[in-house]
């Protein structure tokens, strides 16, 4: 660039081209560009799969077998999240209670189940619990022996229990924070109106806490759907196996591991994507009263997160 150059920015010509390109790009809708990026990623992946002689026929043949695990995956996740929500609700009330027993029990619960690995908890429930039960029955003959059998659980049941207990502990903190976030001024307003504690929680605090709690709970549910794969390690039979176990069985039998796990990954992904859509709708529903103009959501839509200066 010569000192007397008239262009201030990028006077060497290549800068001008970059400038024109940026301007041209700015005219293309952001969403369209993002879609193009995704398409490119899929194209590259497809190319590499093709190079590695990806067996699509095998995938199609085995899809129905692996996908049949969906019902177990979904059942375990649903059972787990229901249990987790109940436990988290109770746990949060305990953490916010002035009752020393409720506070102590919920504190122990959160500490233990957040402080140990989920897979260890699964094995504790699946394998260690029956051992404890049978030893107790041996030691105390007055206890009918068949009680011990109650603690021999199906792998899926033990897995569901462990998921619910583990996620319930994390969600206890989410629920507690959600309740605390509205309890201040809103709780005082309810108090000042002479509401009972129960009325305050039911009519004022919980409906608002619900709105705060929904997004992170949705995230927990998505994480849990994927963690159902851990149940496979408890050694389930093929008949009741969920997605991951089935892809393992099918993949290892025919040495089609890439294909099998791509199918599994695709199924999990589709499941979580589907739920994300559902979650977004739910969030929009509960944002009533927090939106200034009709039809405007509480978070601006279509605005990329990185789009703000």
């Amino acid at each position: 660039m010569t000192p007397g150059s008239s262009t201030v920015l990028g006077g060497d010509g290549s800068g001008d081209r970059r400038e024109r390109l940026a301007l041209a790009s700015a005219r293309i809708p952001f969403r369209l560009k993002v879609a193009a990026v995704w398409a490119a990623i899929f194209a590259v992946l497809a190319f590499f799969f093709w190079l590695s002689q990806f067996d699509t026929d095998w995938m199609l043949d085995n899809l129905s077998f692996i996908a049949a695990g969906l019902r177990f995956t979904i059942a375990i996740a649903l059972g787990g999240i229901v249990l987790a929500v109940v436990l988290a609700g109770l746990g949060a009330l305990g953490r916010l209670s002035s009752n020393s027993i409720a506070y102590g029990v919920s504190g122990f619960y959160v500490s233990f189940f957040r402080g140990t690995p989920l897979i260890v908890q699964m094995f504790l429930i699946y394998l260690a619990l029956p051992q404890v039960a049978s030893n107790l029955v041996d030691r105390f003959p007055t206890i009918p022996a068949e009680y011990a059998n109650w603690f021999i659980l199906e792998a899926a049941v033990a897995g569901t229990l462990a998921l619910g207990l583990n996620y319930g502990a994390y969600m206890t903190e989410i629920f507690r924070a959600g309740i605390q976030a509205v309890a201040g001024g809103q709780g005082e307003a309810a108090d000042a109106l002479g509401m009972t504690h129960r009325q305050k929680m039911r009519k004022v605090v919980l409906p608002q806490a619900f709105r705060i709690i929904i997004p992170p709970t949705g995230n927990e549910f998505i994480a849990m759907m994927k963690d159902t794969a851990l149940v496979s390690f408890l050694g389930v039979t093929a008949a009741s196996a969920e997605i991951f176990r089935r892809s393992q069985l099918a993949g290892q039998a025919d040495i089609r591991n890439l294909e099998a796990y791509v199918v599994a990954a695709g199924l999990y992904w589709a499941l979580t994507a589907l739920f994300t859509v559902f979650q977004a709708r739910l969030e929009q529903r509960v944002s009533r009263g927090y939106v200034r103009l009709p039809g405007q959501s509480s978070q601006p839509k279509g605005q990329p997160h990185g789009g703000l200066p």
């Binding site: 009972t196 608002q208 939106v291």
Partner: protein, 265 residues
Amino acid sequence: MSTQASRETGSGAAAKDVVVRVEGLHKRFGHLEVLKGIDMELRQGEVVVIFGRSGSGKSTLLRCVNFLEDPTAGTVEVAGFRLGGGHRTRRKREQIRQLRLHVGMVFQQFNLFPHMTVLQNVMAGPLCAGNDDDKQVRAEAHELLESVGLEEKADEHPIRLSGGQQQRVAIARALAMKPELMLFDEPTSALDPELTGEVLAVMKRLATERHMPMMVVTHEMGFAREVADRMVFFHEGVILEQGPPAQMFEHTRQAETRKFLDAVL
């Protein structure tokens, strides 16, 4: 003020006329003593404006009157309930709740319930207090909204309202409980200057037309001069000076009061 004489006679003969009696009230937050012995009475139809620097304890007094704060020592008597601080047993909590049913409170930050419509906000108190006659509660809520000039906003959510409108709804919500006493904790401090007038006008009508006993913590000295029967100056946790507005504005006895008034006027 004519009530000055009877106040000296104590709680006996004049008891019926007294709406609030605060005796020997102390409030401590950790090491910080915010209220250092407050004695105060509010009579039927009386409007008291409480003023003073921030941190002088004015809001804390208001919050002690309906037990949003527990007094460290001393008692508060409202609507036949004479309560002190201490552990909140089940019975105590119920007594506090009963007391609150007779006291309306308006907050600086409005604290309307955002998930309810304006009408639902106004109906919430009576419905929770056990008035099951939905039709009657609804009719009264509409009436109240009309009286604060917001009848047409009944089905909106609070977020669609301006700050001044929200505070007027908050007043209507408190009035729906048919309180014997209204507490206003800096009701216009969170408002843009051009919106304070509409809220103060509602409060003034409440005082002059309905003769509602009111304790108002505010820096609105114009409102105090016009509406207050008595002004109470708080300084470092005690009542330093009180009297009718004319006396407080013209013949301040304490230098501290004068200094504060000069600063805000």
